[in-house]
Point group: C2
Chain length 357, copies 2
């Protein structure tokens, strides 16, 4: 991998209007600038540049359209009370990005340089980082195959881009329990597949099950393993945790679920608090049994978008498991408050997770 570390900057001459921070909708408005970086086989990475946010022209035969070589990441920047801007564990996202690239036979990139470019981009679009409680700047780095070639082979050319979108709180009043359907017809990923890579196809595969769940009043699905349809994997865009009898358990990283950065942080935080936490295989039957015995105390999802998402109901095999009376549990709330306070700089960052711009 050769990398040319020059970063060209072209500022926009037509600044857009920044949307009011109390009316932000997730992922619909984008800032004034974006980062682009080109990869050419034999030449490596070149032409790193920050340019005005704009459409990208692609040949209709660009392989991303046909053969799906596409990887993305998602992280957030927060504006503190002191007008500082904090990133939450961005090194972890860059590392996972490169790990996904490996699975998709896409080129590795220099993580430090990408992080440098990301910081520069946010600095330029600094005014877009919202400051209201629960708001943040959502950051979407992604890489796509751009070679115009019909043929199932890894592409020779790629583009790595970063775009930014100011987002509101995932839930209007901070944190609210969701209803989740356990999926036993469709499968998102299987061992040996791409489940642990953050690649477009995984999400495309998930849409139909989510649509059907949505029609039945469930906001997301909980995926079971593709082999036995018995072991719990993860939720659409969150990892999942169960609190039973005082112990917190979450599915172990098995190759078919995403190694979530919120998941990882929650585990570290629980250990720090001396709350027992275990990563292991968990069957849906075990959860049903724990529910019937009355020891299933809390269920929550973890992910960058919602941070912590308490689960008020699990629907499985025509049975409704109502968790904690459908209300946010004490631990879910404490985790949410702690993580978000570290993220927005109102609590001490004992773990060194945040990075100042």
């Amino acid at each position: 991998m050769t990398t040319d570390f020059k970063l060209d900057i072209t500022l926009t001459t037509q600044k857009k209007e920044i949307p009011p921070f109390d009316q932000l909708v997730f992922g619909t408005s984008f800032t004034d600038h974006m980062f682009m970086w080109d990869y050419t086989e034999g030449r490596g990475w070149h032409d790193a540049r920050i340019v005005p946010y704009q459409s990208i022209p692609l040949d209709p035969a660009a392989t991303v359209f046909h053969y799906g070589q596409s990887v993305f990441e998602g992280l957030k920047a927060y504006r503190t009370k002191d007008e500082e801007i904090l990133l939450f564990r961005p090194d972890q996202n860059m590392k996972r990005f490169n790990k996904s690239n490996q699975r998709l036979v896409m080129p590795q990139f220099d993580e430090e340089f990408a992080l440098h470019a990301l910081k520069k981009l946010i600095e330029i679009d600094r005014d877009w980082v919202p400051n209201l409680p629960g708001t943040s700047l959502y950051i979407r780095p992604f890489m796509i195959a751009t070679e115009a070639h019909l043929g199932v082979d890894p592409a020779k050319n790629y583009k790595l881009m970063i775009i930014l979108s100011p987002v509101g709180s995932y839930y209007k009043e901070g944190i609210n329990p969701v209803k989740i359907a356990v999926e036993n017809k469709f499968v998102r990923a299987v061992a040996g597949g791409t489940g642990d890579a953050k690649t477009a196809g995984n999400y495309a595969a998930s849409l139909l099950a989510s649509e059907i769940a949505g029609e039945n009043g469930y906001s997301q699905v909980l995926w079971l393993d593709g082999r036995e349809r018995e072991y719990i994997e993860e939720v659409g865009s969150m990892n999942i945790f169960f609190k039973m009898n005082g112990e917190v358990i979450t599915p172990a990283l098995n190759g078919s679920i995403l190694d979530g950065i919120t998941r990882k942080s929650i585990i570290e935080l629980l250990k720090y608090w001396n709350i027992p936490v275990t990563e292991r295989r968990i069957s849906i039957s075990e959860i049903q049994e724990a529910y019937n015995e009355g020891i299933l105390e809390e269920v929550f999802g973890t992910g960058t978008a919602a941070v912590i998402s308490p689960v008020g109901e699990l629907f499985y095999n025509n049975e409704k498991l109502i968790i904690n009376n459908g209300e946010t549990g004490a631990l879910s709330k404490k985790l949410y408050d702690t993580i978000t306070s570290i993220q927005n700089g109102t609590a001490e960052d004992v773990f060194g997770w945040t990075v100042k711009l």
Copy 2:
């Protein structure tokens, strides 16, 4: 679904040079024009148009880049000795296209109108249809999600496009045995997933295994089922057939393999010839046993690109199964000759498979 059936045509003012038909490389040169059709939620399909082949500008947040809503098809047009142009079972491709769209929560389109537009497009770029033995015009219809929105939901806007590429014979001398590695680490698709839809993510998932097989001298991999890694599925972009003891068998359509149009045609042809042909579950152990007993007579893949691709060697668990001395079998050859002769109009089309422009 509302559909506006007007087809606008804008011809190019700068015709490209048509590459020499004896030097065609698969999927690298494209004709002068392309078809585009837009879908907008609430409005349906609109602005069907044939325009000069050109780049398409897409917002960096277009969902195809991030969440992989993308479906494609592949079929061919042939130029006959009498200067007629024949399509091979194009209705089947349009039908499968819509079936894939359903799985990916993408909109259905009017198949007859799309076929009408396709014929018109080929008519306009008629000079690009090559006439040498083994050559053809490869046709790539595809649909992508174009809405600029970060969020795992079906998009509101799509583009359906058709591009054309003159292609040479898949193998220089017509038909040549390939070496295939049986994949037992990676998985392409699993029951409940997207294996029977022609969507980008399936191909992205297949690249790493193909790369590794390639490094070991194998041109493609044979996928096993995702649950037990025991039952035979298909090859990278072909269905697979085995001839054992005079009987031809091929994996049944089980939801995780593609319903290949060549596969379907081969089955019809074998039945017409009164050669026993069975669609059923086949384990890799059964193939090993048949090989050891000396009754594995021929193995071949079927697909639009290569039509029939004889398999000369299967590599599984460190064992090399050499099939028919590594040579093209008599049945493989006969099937290849028959299908290609129907396709290019030199044999009578008793099945009514071909469609004249």
